[in-house]
Symmetry: D2
C-alpha cells in the first residue's frame, strides 16, 4: 500500500483527491492536513463522503509515515511551503499547483503522461499540469509533434465553475452565473506558459517557435496560442476547440490518424470518430479528442473533467506511474453521463 | 410624474426597482442612493441597464425633491435608518424590508393589494410583504376568508437563489447550488409572522386561530403553518404547494370558485384552470394559483417571481395605488417564458 | 464471475447498468440486448463509455450462457416478455420495472435490502423498487416499524429529469424545464402501491392501516400518504421531505435513534446528524436520511440518486446479495459532489 | 394602430411575438393563425400570457383586415406559402425565416437596421435576419466598413436551446443538455450566407472578398468566416467572440472608436467599455459589443437575446421602422438580469 499524506486537504482538489483515494485499491491515506479544519471530520466538510470514511483533518504533518505527499495548495503556496518545511528525501511529492510546471532550478517533472510517461515513472517530484493546459495540449500534441503548427492557433475553451475553486465570489455567485456566459483572462491566461513550453519541446527541428505571449508580447517572432477562456454555466468540465491553419491541406483521415497513433498507448486519452459532448468525460479521468477538417483548417475538439484529468485524477494517474502501479488503478470511474 | 428616491439602490431589489422604474410612464427617478457606489453609473453595477440610463448613484438624499422613497435596505435597517434621519411628512415611504410588516406602534400598512387595496390607496407609509409570504398567502387567502383553515397546513415552497441576495455565500456558490436541492429554516422561517397575521385577520369569527409558532411554539392552541423552504436550482421565482385538510369534502369546482371570486378584481393574481409551471410568471408581476382536490384534501399550487410580485413589482403596484395611478402602470412586463 | 445478460440495454437504466457492471470486479456482461440498436457499439449509444468497452448490442438472447438477466424494459413489458419467452429456471431475474413489485401470483421478492435482505439473498426472482418508492420508504421505515405512523403523511419529493427516461418530450424539453418547477401525478403517483404495501407489512399490530388511495380512494379508513412529485431543474437525484404528526411528542434524539438503529447494518443508507443536500448522494448508491422535530411534527429529509439507489445501483446491490457477493461490490462509486 | 396578422403563431417565435405585441402601444393583433391549435386560447399554449390576453388561435387568414403579416414559419415554408396564397399588395410582410435573406428574384429587404435603416423604412417586404447572423454581423460590421477584414475570421458563438425551437429532440433533451457542451454545424452553419453577403456589401473597394464557403468551398480566393456554433447550457441568448488579425496594429481605443461611431445612432446596439456578460441582454432587444486588442489581434465580444434582437424583437423593430413608428416602441423591455 502506498501511504499518502495530503496538504491543503480541505479545498476542492483536496476533497476530490480524498474521494478518489478512499476507493483506490493500493493506497492508504495517512493524513489529511488542514489548519482551519483540524479535528473536523472530512465527511462533514466534503460532499459525498458521509458513510465512506471516518477520517478527520489534522494539523499535523507526519512526513516520516508516508511515501508521497500531495500539495493541494493554492498557486504560489507550494514553493513557499517548501521554504519553511523539509520533506524527507525519500518522500515523493505531487504538486497540484503551478509553482514548478515551468522548467527551472528544480527537479520537478511536468506530469502529462501522454508526453513523458517514462520520466514520470522515475521521478521523485512531480508538477501536475493545469486543467486548461491539459485539455488544450491534448488537443494539439499530435500536430505539434508532426510539425504542423505553423500559424497562430485559435483556442476557445469553456470551463465549469469548479475551476474557480471553493471560495464564493461575484463570478461564481449562482444568481449571476446561472444561464450566463462570459470571458475572462482573454489571451492572457497563465496556463499559456506551460502550453507553449510543451509545444516547443515536442516540435521537430525547423518548426516555428511558439511564442510565450505572456513573457514576450504579441509581436515576438513565432506563432501564438490565442486562447479565450469562457466561464460556463455548469460546474464540471472543460470543452475546448482548437483551430489550426495548415500549410498544406490534409484529409480528415490523415489528421485523425496522427491522433490515433499518438494516443494509441494512452491510458485515458482517446480519439473519438464521432463528434463529442462534454458529459462523456465528466466524472471520469478520460480525455476525448475529435478532429474535423475544412480546406486547410483543422478543427480539434478536446475535453476533460477539469477536476479529474484536469487535476486530481491526473495526479493519481501520475502517482500510479511513480509507484509502478497499474496506471488506471483507482481511476475506473463511472461517468455521470447525465 | 411621481418623483422617486431610492435608498439601498445598489442591492438586488434596488437594481430590479430601477429596471422597472426607468420604463414606468409616470415616474421620474430623482435619486438612487448608495454610499458604497456613490458616483458610479447605475448601468455599470446593475445588469441589463447599459444603454438605457445614464443615472449615477449618489450619497445624497434630497428628500425635499421627491414624492416617495423606496427603502431597499436589508432587514432591520429601515427602522434604524428612521431613527437617524427624518423623512418629510409629505413624502410617502415604501419599505421593502420586514421592519414594519407586523402591526405595532407605527402607521405602516401591509401592502398586499389582494387583501387591503383600499387601505393602501390612502396610506402614507407602506410595508411591502415578503416573497415567500406573498406566495403562500395568495395560495391560502380564499380558504382563510371562507373559514376553511381548520387543520395544520403543509406548505412546501422552493425559491430561486436571488432570494438570498447579492452577497456570495456557501449556499449560493454556483458549484454547490447547481443541480442541488436542500432545505433551510425548516418550520422557522421569519415570514411565518406576517402570514399568520393576515390569516388571522381574514378568518371569520369562530375559525381556529393560526398559531405564530415562532413566538408561541408548536404546542400552543390553534392550527399551524408547517412551512418547509427549499433552495431551488434556479435564480428567480417561488413555487409553492399548500395542502389543507378540510372538515367536510368539497368538489374541486367549489374550491376553485372561491379562488376565482376572491381574485376576480385582482390586477395580477389569476386562477389557472390548468396546472401551472413556474416560468409562466418569471419576469412578470403576476401570481398564478391552481387547485386540486382529493377527498377532503385541497392541494393549492401558487407561484410568483420572487423579485417582482415577491418584492419590487408589488412595491411598484403599491406605489401606483398610493398615487392613484393605474395599478398596472409600468408593470406590463414580458414573461421570460423560457 | 457472475455472467450477466441485459434486456432493454439501450435505455437509460440499461446504460447506467452497463456503466456500473463494466467496472464490477465479479461480473462479466455476456450480452446486452436491444432490437433497435443491434450491432451498434454500446459506447456509441451510451454517454461515458468510449474507451471503456468494445461491447456491441445484440438482438440475441443466449439465456443458457448467463447466471442472471436484468430486465430494463419500460413498465408493463416485463410481464409481457415473460409470456412470450422462457427464461431457464436456473437463471435469476432482476426486473427493474414495476410489474412484479406488488405481491400476487408470482415469486418475485421486493428488493429493498433495508427491509428484506435475507429474503433477497435466497430469491431467484427480484422486483427492484421504484425510485420515488425507495426514497420515500427509506424516509419512513423506522417510524413505520415503531408504529408511529398514526396520521396522514405529507410527502414532497423533487426528482431529476432522468426519471422521465430517454425519450424527449414536452416536460423534458430543455427550453421548458431549465429554471422551471412544476408538479405532476399529484397524490396519484403509481409508486404509492409499493409504498403502502411495505409500510403496512412493517407496521406492528394495532397500527393504523395505510390506505392505497389509488385503489381505495381518499375516503377509505386509515391513514394516507399524500405524495406530491415535483419536476426538478436537474438531471439526477430525488430530494424528499416527509412530515409526520406524532400522537405523542418525542425528542429529536429519540427519533434520530430510531433511524440510526434501523439503518445500523445498512450497506448504503446512512443517518446524517447534519442537514443534507442532494449532491451528497448524486453519483453514488447511497441514501441519506436526516430528521428534525418541531412539537409533535417529525420532518424527515431523505434523498438518493434516482438512477443508482433508485434503480440500477440497487439492482446491482440486490444481485450482489442474490449471488453471495460483497453487498457493496462494484458500488464504491465516487460522488459527483459538484 | 397597426393591424397585425401572425402566421405560424403557435411556435416559439410566434409566442414571443405575441408576448411583445400585446404590450405594444401602437399595435392590434387581428389574427394569430395556427392550423394545429385553431380554437385554442393563446394563453393555454404559450407560457406567460395567462391573464394578459383572451386571444385564440384561428385557422383563418383575413389578410384584408391587416396592415402587416408576420411569417413565423419554419425555414423554407415562407416561400412555399406564398406560392399557394396571395397576400394583398398593400399588406406588408415581415418574414422571420431565411427564405428571402439572400438577394435574388424578390423585393425583400434584409432587415438589419444597423446597416440599412432607410431601406427598411421604405420597404414593403422584409426578411428578418437570423439569430447567429445578427450577433456575428454586429460584431464585425465596423471592421468590415473600415476595410479591416483582411484575414480569416475566427468566430465562436454559443447559443441557448431556444434556438433549436419548440420541438423536443435528442440535443434539447434536458437530461442530455443540462451541464453539457457540444458543437454542431461546424464551419457549415447556414447563416454564413447572409453574413458574407452583408460583409461584402459593406466592405470598401479593394478589401478582400469574403468567401461564402458553403457555396464555394474553403479553397476559393478570399477570406473566410470560420464559424463554430456551440450548444449552450441555457435557454436564451447568443454569446459570440470574433477574432480578427489586422494587417497593421491599432490601439484598443482606435478600434473601440470605430464601433462607437458605427453604432452612435443605433437604437439597440451599444458599445460597452467594460467586458460584457450574456445576462445583460437576455430579455431585451439589445445587442452589446466590446473590443479588446492584443498585438494585431482584435477580439470582439458580441451578444444578443436570440429570440429578441435575434428574431422577434428585431422583427418588431423593423415593423416600427416600416410604419414610421418610434423605433423602440413596444421594445423597452426589462432585462431578466438574473
Amino acid at each position: 500500500m502506498v501511504k499518502v499524506g495530503i496538504l491543503g486537504a480541505a479545498g476542492y482538489t483536496g476533497g476530490e483527491l480524498i474521494r478518489i483515494l478512499i476507493n483506490h485499491p493500493d493506497v492508504e491515506i495517512v493524513f489529511a492536513n488542514s489548519e482551519s479544519n483540524a479535528g473536523n471530520r472530512v465527511a462533514d466538510v466534503h460532499e459525498g463522503l458521509l458513510g465512506d470514511t471516518e477520517l478527520c483533518f489534522t494539523d499535523q504533518m507526519p512526513f516520516d509515515k508516508v511515501d508521497v505527499v500531495f500539495f493541494c495548495f493554492g498557486h504560489g503556496k507550494s514553493e513557499a511551503f517548501l521554504k519553511e518545511h523539509t520533506i524527507p528525501a525519500n518522500v515523493k511529492i505531487v504538486d497540484l499547483a503551478q509553482d514548478f510546471r515551468i522548467k527551472g532550478n528544480h527537479d520537478y517533472v511536468y506530469g502529462l503522461p501522454e508526453v513523458r510517461r517514462d520520466e514520470i515513472r522515475k521521478c521523485q517530484h512531480l508538477a501536475n499540469p493545469g486543467c486548461f493546459a491539459t485539455c488544450i495540449q491534448l488537443g494539439l500534441l499530435p500536430l505539434a509533434k508532426a510539425g504542423l503548427l505553423t500559424d497562430d492557433i485559435a483556442v476557445n475553451a469553456i470551463t465549469g465553475s469548479t475551476g474557480a475553486g471553493q471560495k464564493p465570489g461575484a463570478t461564481t455567485h449562482f444568481s449571476w452565473r446561472n444561464d450566463n456566459m462570459s470571458v475572462y483572462k482573454l489571451f492572457t491566461h497563465q496556463h499559456l506558459h506551460e502550453i507553449t513550453q510543451t509545444l516547443n519541446e515536442l516540435a521537430p527541428a525547423g518548426a516555428p517557435r511558439v511564442v510565450d505571449t505572456l513573457n514576450e508580447g504579441y509581436e515576438a517572432d513565432g506563432i501564438t496560442v490565442d486562447f479565450i477562456p469562457y466561464r460556463g454555466d455548469f460546474a464540471r468540465g472543460i470543452f475546448c476547440t482548437e483551430v489550426i491553419r495548415l500549410k498544406n491541406a490534409m484529409s480528415a483521415d490523415e489528421v485523425a490518424k496522427l491522433y490515433k497513433d499518438f494516443y494509441a498507448d494512452a491510458a485515458f486519452t482517446h480519439y473519438s470518430d464521432a463528434a463529442i459532448d462534454l458529459k462523456q468525460v465528466v466524472g471520469t479521468n478520460k480525455a476525448l479528442v475529435h478532429v474535423d477538417v475544412f480546406g486547410r483548417k483543422v478543427v480539434v475538439t478536446s475535453m476533460i473533467d477539469n477536476l479529474l484529468k484536469g487535476a486530481v485524477g491526473q495526479a493519481v494517474q501520475n502517482m500510479n506511474l511513480m509507484f509502478g502501479l497499474d496506471e488506471k488503478a483507482g481511476l475506473n470511474l463511472k461517468a455521470i453521463a447525465f
